[in-house]
């Protein structure tokens, strides 16, 4: 038997309005990530469509115009990016073409396509960001699209609330989604590369070079960059919390560079087994540097060790990563001797050195050439020659910033002091290098982890002591010793402190460290938010095969086979199914309608009384017929039928009346008569 002709749902303007809202939200999510013209163009096309819909009679733009718009959009995307492959141009093209598509939505088929494009845009949003707020926004987008579909397929129903329906469905889908998320097998690494804007994804953090002023931008930010889990007993005191990141050897007088060092230069890195065991969660910074307490002796597999006791990730850190590392705490990295190549690098001077600096160093050199004594002399110079710590050091001579700083302005922060110190040491023939990283960090009281923020960014130096190794010297500490104790929290007050006397300094320090109620509340929120984010990153964003394995064994289901997993998923599918039925109060299959029951009973009574109840007869027909047939019961029957009609077809609805109707039908006294 052939099936009936396909029924097509006509597109209603209410449904279309909801779809426009869904598209608006989907594009809004892309605003921070795409070139601004892309989203503006999409919004304009959306507004155009909305305008045409408002003016009822206005026809949609003809196919030629739409084709021209689509081609134009492609050309503009190509002009912007120069290519089509990759994330940014791909998503840009998707946004713009979807907006053009919106101009030709006429039937439910186009409507579906539009909704599916919105799903894709939500997925594309997650290519840019995987933070918790992004997921929440993505869920809102999903709800908006589903609500548009619900509106379409609800038809003219007045009692359906599309958003409520969509929320209920989403809620019901959570159990099966969670179990799938946990159990779905994860594979390492990409199947193919992510083209397009990878390195320039806008993550801030350390660049691989250091200019004296470059840290200033970072120290203003309170963003958490690193989170460290370490046994409480092993956590070094604040003064010792140097996080080693990268070592800079070479300078041209303005900028410091790591330089290129062959991996075959021996003796440059010490390894060991014992040390402070750390588990570090590092936020993406777009470079390969990994940080650890100074100095790491055992690095995680998959990372590369570089000379200078630093290590690098095998690729750029573009998403949060977690690693374990062991470090030895102490101010000196013991090494027996310095490779001649490294010695040359550690003594390298810019081509032009300010002669004023040479005259500055000369008298100190005459006192002795001992590296430690010279370092002490330079630090003494910083302490006594009117140097101040400031995050707004003013402009330095761009050709010779270090000389200008040391001889004239004498205002600067860690980058300036490290660069100045290193240059002076090298002028004194002492091998010296700059180490960049973080110093400080504070323990989050909520989960006891050490949180390091952008504001804790720091640069310090190491000098070579023959026969002993690299000794850490932090010239900034000579100027503001409190910086070591209190880390980045102090930054805002450091300018003020530097200006005053010793008493002033301690009072400013007290003020900086005591917080008002609002600040305490803010800190409290921040602490909890940090912890939530950490869990989010650990258990959701970074949920990989290792996390999966550890979670499954923690849940005690690690050993289950594939069949077992499938069974578990099926169980949750059933659960989602039942949850949906419960949420929307869908009736059980066998439930009988009480009105139906009353009507059947009435029909049975009437035919028992000898009346023919035909298939084509409605309640009114039957009422008329019964009136002729049973004149004595006519009024009672008529009343029952009128109540039935009111309940069945009327606008008011009362549950109690249905039961009383059944009672009244039972009470009817219809004479029994057998049909001939």
């Amino acid at each position: 038997m052939s099936r009936p002709q396909r029924a097509v749902m006509p597109l209603s303007s209410r449904a279309l309005d909801r779809m426009k809202l869904a598209f608006l939200l989907a594009v809004a999510g892309q605003v921070p990530h795409l070139p601004i013209w892309t989203t503006i163009m999409a919004f304009l096309l959306l507004a155009w469509r909305h305008y045409l819909d408002r003016r009822r009679r206005r026809p949609l733009p003809p196919p030629g115009v739409r084709l021209a718009l689509a081609l134009g959009a492609c050309v503009v995307v190509y002009l912007q990016f120069g290519f089509f492959m990759g994330r940014d141009p791909g998503v840009s093209a998707l946004v713009v073409l979807a907006a053009v598509k919106l101009l030709e939505v006429r039937q439910s088929r186009d409507f579906h396509l539009m909704g599916y494009l919105c799903y894709f845009l939500t997925a594309a949003l997650f290519l840019f960001t995987q933070e918790l707020p992004a997921l929440l926004f993505g869920v809102v987008q999903l709800l908006a699209v589903n609500a548009a579909f619900l509106q379409l397929y609800a038809g003219r129903s007045g009692s359906l609330r599309p958003l409520r329906g969509a929320s209920g469905m989403l809620l019901a889908s959570v159990p099966v989604a969670v179990v799938l998320f946990i159990l779905f097998p994860r594979y390492p690494g990409p199947l193919w590369g992510l083209g397009g804007a990878a390195g320039e994804s806008g993550v801030s953090g350390f660049s691989d070079t250091l200019q004296p002023g470059s840290v200033a931008r970072m120290v203003e930010s309170q963003r958490a960059v690193m989170r460290m889990k370490v046994a409480e007993a092993e956590l070094p005191p604040p003064r010792q919390r140097y996080f080693r990141g990268l070592v800079l050897w070479l300078t041209d007088g303005r900028t410091w560079y790591p330089g290129r060092i062959g991996e075959n230069i021996a003796g440059s890195t010490r390894r060991g087994r014992d040390g402070v065991k750390q588990e570090i969660m590092l936020e993406p910074h777009g470079q390969r540097w990994l940080f650890a307490l100074d100095y790491p002796v055992r690095v995680p597999p998959g990372s590369l060790v570089s000379p200078g006791n630093v290590f690098r990730y095998h690729r750029r850190v573009e998403r949060p990563i977690r690693y374990r590392v062991d470090s030895r705490i102490g101010g000196i990295i013991p090494e027996p001797d310095l490779h001649p190549y490294l010695r040359r690098m550690a003594l390298q001077l810019p081509r032009e050195v300010n002669p004023g600096l040479r005259t500055l160093v000369e008298p100190w050199l005459r006192e002795g050439t001992d590296a430690r004594a010279l370092a002490e002399r330079v630090l003494e110079f910083f302490r006594s020659a009117g140097f101040t710590y400031s995050l707004q050091p003013g402009n330095l001579d761009p050709r010779d910033p270090v000389g200008d700083f040391l001889l004239n302005t004498r205002r600067g922060f860690c980058g300036h002091y490290a660069a100045g110190f290193a240059l002076l040491m090298r002028l004194g023939e002492v091998p010296c290098r700059i180490v960049a990283g973080y110093q400080g960090g504070e323990t989050n009281p909520v989960d006891g982890q050490l949180v390091v923020r952008d504001a804790d960014a720091h640069a310090w130096t190491e000098i070579w002591l023959d026969g002993r190794g690299w000794l850490r010297v932090d010239p900034t500490a000579a100027v503001v010793p409190e910086r070591l104790e209190y880390g980045g929290r102090l930054n805002a007050s450091l300018d003020e402190m530097a200006a005053g006397t010793a008493e002033d300094r301690s009072s400013v320090l007290r003020r900086a460290m005591t917080e008002g109620g609002l600040a305490r509340a803010w800190r409290w929120i921040r602490d909890y938010w940090d912890v939530a984010r950490n869990y989010w990153q650990t258990w959701v964003v970074r949920y990989d095969r290792y996390q999966q394995r550890s979670l499954l064994s923690r849940l005690g289901v690690r050993g289950i086979q594939r069949a077992g997993k499938l069974a578990l998923v099926m169980l949750f599918v059933v659960f989602t199914w039942r949850l949906t039925r419960w949420l929307f109060r869908l009736p059980a299959q066998r439930r009988r309608d009480p009105l139906e029951k009353s009507w059947r009973l009435l029909e049975a009574r009437l035919s028992r009384g000898g009346m023919n109840v035909e298939s084509w007869q409605g309640p009114l027909d039957i009422s008329r017929q019964a009136r002729r047939r049973f004149p004595n019961q006519a009024d009672a029957i008529d009343q029952v039928i009128q109540t039935y009609i009111r309940l069945r077809y009327g606008v008011s609805f009362a549950a109690g009346v249905e039961k009383s109707l059944l009672r009244r039908v039972r009470k009817l006294r219809i004479p029994r008569r057998w049909k001939a």
Binding site: M1, S2, P4, Q5, A7, M9, S108, H112, Y116, Y119, F120, T122, F126, Q130, L135, G138, V139, L142, N146, F149, L150, Y153, A154, R156, S157, S159, L160, G165, A166, G168, M169, L170, A172, S173, V176, A177, V178, L180, F184, Y187, P188, P190, L191, V540, V541, R542, D544, V573, T580, R581, F584, R585, L586, R591, D593, W599, S615, W616, R648, Y649
Partner: protein
């Protein structure tokens, strides 16, 4: 009331649902490729929503009951009209439905979208094809929805047993047969062609044509009376199978049907003579139906 034999609810993926699955799959591949947990979450939520939407659509159509089927009289070639009375048992919303019915000759077109009334009932007028006259039976009724996402077509099919008749298509050009007077009484001054001599008034009886009601007196507030004309009301006509000798069977039936309908329209008395059956002269709706039924069932017993 038609008796229900069995009911079955089916859920099928629509083409749009296939596209939805493809998108879920594409997002899954992207999630695996980029190890993107958010994309995994989106993909699994979409899958869960798919399951939930199937439960929703199925639960809804399964909660709709067919309470009543009314089959309207139909003539061959014009399709049978049915009025379905559907009831929704669930307390929640009532999304759009499409309804259709099937006779032995197959399914009629879908009717919709209809929204059941919020207190639960709704009628849908569906049609089934009726190519020829005869007695038939309704086989099945179905209603479907694509609510909520359009990815599933949830359909409930109910087997029903409801007989109905399709009357022959009324057509034919043969002239009206010679009527015969009821009383062959020429002496009272009535004559065959006469029908316009006013004879008096008598009360209107149920089932009589309204054509001769004295509407002026009704307007004055009296009960309806029939204006009797000498001859006009007392002429009876016999529609005889044998008058149409030489014509094919179905054409004869069509011609007879045409006459019966015309006669019913004019309100004259008429009788029907078929080879197997003869129906005494009469008038009124019931008489018309009896004649039409006899025409529809012609030849059934052989």
């Amino acid at each position: 009331m038609a008796r229900k034999r069995g009911a079955v609810t089916r859920v099928r993926l629509t083409p749009a649902g296939g596209a939805y699955m493809l998108i879920v799959f594409a997002i899954l591949v992207a999630a695996m490729n980029y190890s993107n947990s958010m994309a995994f979450i989106l993909c699994f939520l979409m899958l869960g929503t798919l399951i939930s939407s199937a439960a929703m659509g199925r639960g809804y159509v399964a909660g709709v009951r067919l309470r009543h089927v009314r089959i309207h009289p139909a003539f061959a070639g014009r399709g049978v009209k049915l009025t379905l009375e559907l009831i929704a048992l669930n307390e929640g919303g009532r999304p759009a439905l499409f309804a259709s019915a099937a006779g032995v000759d197959g399914w009629g077109d879908a009717f919709g979208p209809i929204n059941l009334h919020h207190s639960g009932a709704m009628v849908a007028d569906v049609g089934i094809p009726a190519p020829g006259r005869g007695s038939f039976r309704l086989v099945a009724v179905q209603w479907e929805t694509r609510y909520p996402l359009g990815v599933f077509r949830c359909r409930r099919e109910v087997q029903v047993q409801a007989p109905y008749l399709v009357y022959p298509n009324p057509e034919g050009q043969r002239p009206w047969p010679q009527p015969e007077s009821r009383w062959y009484d020429w002496t009272e001054g009535s004559h065959m062609s006469g029908g316009d001599d006013f004879n008096g008034l008598r009360p209107w009886r149920v089932g009589e044509s309204w054509r001769h009601i004295d509407w002026k007196s009704v307007a004055r507030g009296r009960s309806p009376n029939i204006k009797e004309f000498s001859g006009g009301g007392q002429v009876r006509t016999w529609f005889d199978w044998n008058h149409l000798a030489g014509m094919p069977v179905e054409s004869r039936l069509s011609q007879l049907t045409r006459w019966v309908l015309d006669a019913a329209h004019l309100g004259v008395e008429y009788g029907l003579r078929l080879p197997e059956k003869s129906i005494e002269a009469g008038s009124g709706t019931r008489h018309t139906r009896t004649c039409l039924e006899a025409l529809a069932r012609y030849g059934e017993d052989q």
